[in-house]
Symmetry: D3
Subunit: 239 residues, 6 copies
């Protein structure tokens, strides 16, 4: 099977990030991993959830959604159904945890940054694109706060990015698109920091349990792909 | 007060429509009225709501939403709150009625076209931009059905488009942006067909009841603006 | 087609209003437009929604519902379904806006008047009967507040009333009953103040777009009908 | 303490029933127990819940609600809150069971009769007034079915009626109004059939547990009051 | 028909109560009435519902649920359906009222005791087992509060217990199991205090209305059974 | 810090499984990992979700909940709140996927096995205890189906079990209890099959990103612990 964009097994799809894509938010990015396109915004509010009130620390939280026709066939709109699916909740919790892992909440002060990741077109890897783009939107929001003198020091300790890997037809592949993901035996998502450490790992045997060797092969691919994502984030943030 | 884009009272903001903005749907358009930007998609499904089953007729229905940070301050996500607001329901019902008014349901056959209007950036006039863009997405979906031989005749009887007008500081203005809309004494939305007839009229005195003369002045502005929108729709649909 | 109550095209159905229909509320009216019967109550509470707190201004808001068997066939109860329909939300927002348009919120002081319009029997025009009756209930509640010395001046700037008009079989008719409404090509609702100005206009082409001449014909009928409603409101409020 | 309507301890409030109060339903009654006023309607539908499908038997079910301002202070509307309270569910289950107890479901055939009890004014005893009035609405709906030849035999085996009793200030009282009910030590509701048997008994010690002698005293009062209600039901049903 | 556990008509099933069944709560009991098994816990929180705030009085409230497969066939989980059934709400309101009837709220002070009754295995009589076991859990929680010096006096005025009775095949039976309950003509639940007085009575004619003689027979059985339950509660609470 | 049950870093807490704990389900187990206690039931239904209908294949799905006072402080009941939390949905999706990974759906035939995991007492590791116990309940349900001749071959391909590991105070620990879990820098859950392969891996840096060496150390501990769990499952299933 030929991979999309004529990629090797260890290659990412073309990745682009368009800053300031939406004009109102403190930070906003359109992130594209091949045909997967996600609008990530970072919105600052001068309040914190009740469990943090009066403690001097801030909060970062995330919400995720897909437009109904981001996918091949239309999915019912969650707002119309009246609840978010388990998959949605799982993904937005993952995005939130990933960003909090690199944020110094004391430096952020008593304010909340809401990350919204809205997938306008889906082709596999929406959660990893969301995390990778959301960090750039968060970085821009933090710059806004610094520029406005609302915070004194940058609360971002390092960068965070994410990528999917999988076993498809017995081979380990980096950054699965939708077709690969649908046929994968195993699907893993890695979230790492720019210091080369792990924040989140989620692996699922979709069709067949996997061996320790397969796990190590996927991990190597992921580490390689994520370093490329850190470079793209840095280029994007160049003035 | 100077109008945005240095407009006269009877001028529209710059209007652009980008076809095929999202790759999966049968029709999709990014419509922009100045800084208001809406993704409109048209999705075809081979079934109809139960009240139409077995009658040989089709259906067109619409859903509307705004990304949480489409606006100046972030609004809670409707999917997270677990229900759509009255405003959302009102707008999506309006979009659906407007498009059904120009569709011959017998020619569409027993299938449903779902229109999704998702506002990614809001600056006033989101419902009128949605209707105007949605008609183009619908026209593209209909072309897809014709090309695939799934329908024999074009079910679209004519075009439909919409614009807002209002009384601001005592003057009648065409196509209000957010600042104008917030300060308007009166806000009206007109939906018309390309044969020069009316499909929907909604007028609200936000601050002060209005006279019959003011209503007529707004109506004239709206008729003028909508003819310009029909021209833009036709240009957009040129191959 | 003969009209109900042997009416001419420009005649209202018999309209009656029974004050003090329910004993607990500060104001209550049973309003009847022919066979359409609505219980309107006005309830005063000494608090305001949070967005108004501490501003010295009051609020008027409305809720609307139909008993399940107000209609020809039974409709599921909204409380049992767990949500209000889009139609219900749309109507109650309209009632609220109409009444607020004639109320001076500063004179009302920091209190809320809740209007409840519950349709016990429906035969077309439930929203226009609701607005017309609700204003009388509101006027009675205001009298209660004045009599009790809780407010110093009457916050009602003028009266408000509403009527439906439509195009049925090509002819413009005033105050449609259910049979006329079901078969109407066009359905419009006008809300006006006793100074002859407009508060709300909602027109919908149910079957066929309408011309500017038809719109003007409907508007004339509505203005004529609404003046008759103002007279009935005044008679009702005679001691 | 003087009782309302200058009643003795063993007297009902004035009870009236107005048949055909609402024009659309197959049966409808406005029932009044003093100042408690309830609209009861009976609606016939030609289908049964899924657990009964194909068994040849019918079903009777009930729903109950109060208008928001039926009470001294306004209660939030259940449709707006998005759920029915435990009290509402409890009462409507009681009404349904009471009516089913006197209905021969085989004679009713595969159809459902929906009973709607909507309290427009509350002054104690809304559930017992509902049951008593609902049986008359049900009887009228059954007459409609017989007259239309949709059923061959009357499925009503006997009449059913209900009354509240209580211990107030140490004394057993029949048919408590709101003031008595609020101050009652014990509150009991009895539902009986016209053959003098019991269908439902619900007794609650609001303030103080009660003795077997008190229970017997309340039961005697209830039996006396309910026989009077059966007489009123029969008078109401006279042609 | 032979009764389970070879019982006479006036005999309870074997009743056991295991204290301290769950380690975290201030009081917890596994109560078993034959094969009906319920975990009852009592949790103390240092706050009261808003309607009681600042009045110096406490509150006792209860929640009830069944594990999905506590019954012969699996019932959908209420948390997954998104609402509690009418039956659940009715039972938990009954449990709460029963326990409040024997609690001196002033002595409890401004705190709430939450009772949770979770049925892990159901074989009839789950609500009566819940009340009987919950009182023991409540007594243990009260002991905890006394021992910790958080309250000065025992707020429990007396014990409360409950049992079901019914008419099955024309005979009055005590403490129905599931098979008996399913076939019962009449089902009654009695809640009494250890001083021999009644707190709650709920009787329902499932299949056939019942006579005053049958009611008295059931009441006698219930009184007899409940005295046995008080003895078991006391034995259980022996140190 | 001393570990509970005087354990070494690579030791499990005492694990016990009590089969046939609940009498109605086709399979049921009380699983205990130290003080964490979960009731796991397996319920067979002769139908499949709509997406599988007519394909000859079966389905295994899971639901998870905690009793409100399974934890140190009482958590609001999800059924009362009207929705399951993101955490709950995440865990029950994990349990379902883990069991499906070892089940041959064709051999199961068109039926669904519902797994219910209800935590009655929580002390860390509720999801891993649930998976480990649920497999035994599933195995018992499968035996029931085989014994009744409803299936011809055992659809369970191998066993599945799960354990948590973490980094606490810089050290890798097996099978964290609540105290350890609350203070952990990293928390990972491994789900493996008895053939030594991986089904699910979920790792989260709660406080500090982790290195590849730490990940490998945790993985080794998990593999060691899980083999012990497979032995306990087999002992449990001895007749």
């Amino acid at each position: 099977m030929k991979r999309s964009f004529e990629r090797q097994n260890n290659q990412l799809r073309p990745v682009t990030m368009t800053r300031h894509f939406i004009k109102h938010p403190e930070g906003s990015v359109l992130v594209e991993f091949g045909d997967t396109r996600v609008i990530c915004t970072a919105s600052v509010e001068e309040s914190v959830p009740s469990f943090l009130r009066g403690k001097g620390a801030g909060w970062v939280t995330a919400e995720y959604a897909m437009l109904p026709r981001a996918t091949h066939t239309r999915s019912p709109r969650e707002a119309a159904k009246g609840k978010q699916s388990g998959r949605t909740l799982e993904i937005q919790r993952l995005i939130g945890r990933s960003l909090r892992a690199v944020t110094d909440m004391a430096k952020l002060g008593e304010r909340t940054i809401y990350i919204d990741c809205d997938v306008i077109q889906a082709d596999g890897g929406t959660r990893t694109a969301s995390i990778t783009g959301a960090w750039v939107a968060l970085a821009d929001a933090v710059q806004t706060l610094l520029r406005q003198g609302r915070i004194a020091e940058n609360p971002l300790k390092e960068a965070v990015a994410a990528v999917s890997v999988g076993i498809v037809g017995g081979e380990a592949l980096l950054d699965l698109d939708y077709t690969e993901d649908s046929g994968a035996e195993v699907d893993m998502n890695f979230v790492m920091t720019s210091s080369g450490r792990f924040v989140e790992i989620q692996g699922t045997a979709e069709a067949e349990p996997f061996t320790i060797e397969q796990m190590d092969a996927m991990r190597s691919l992921a580490m390689e792909g994520i370093s490329r994502l850190f470079a793209i984030q840095q280029e994007t943030l160049q003035p």
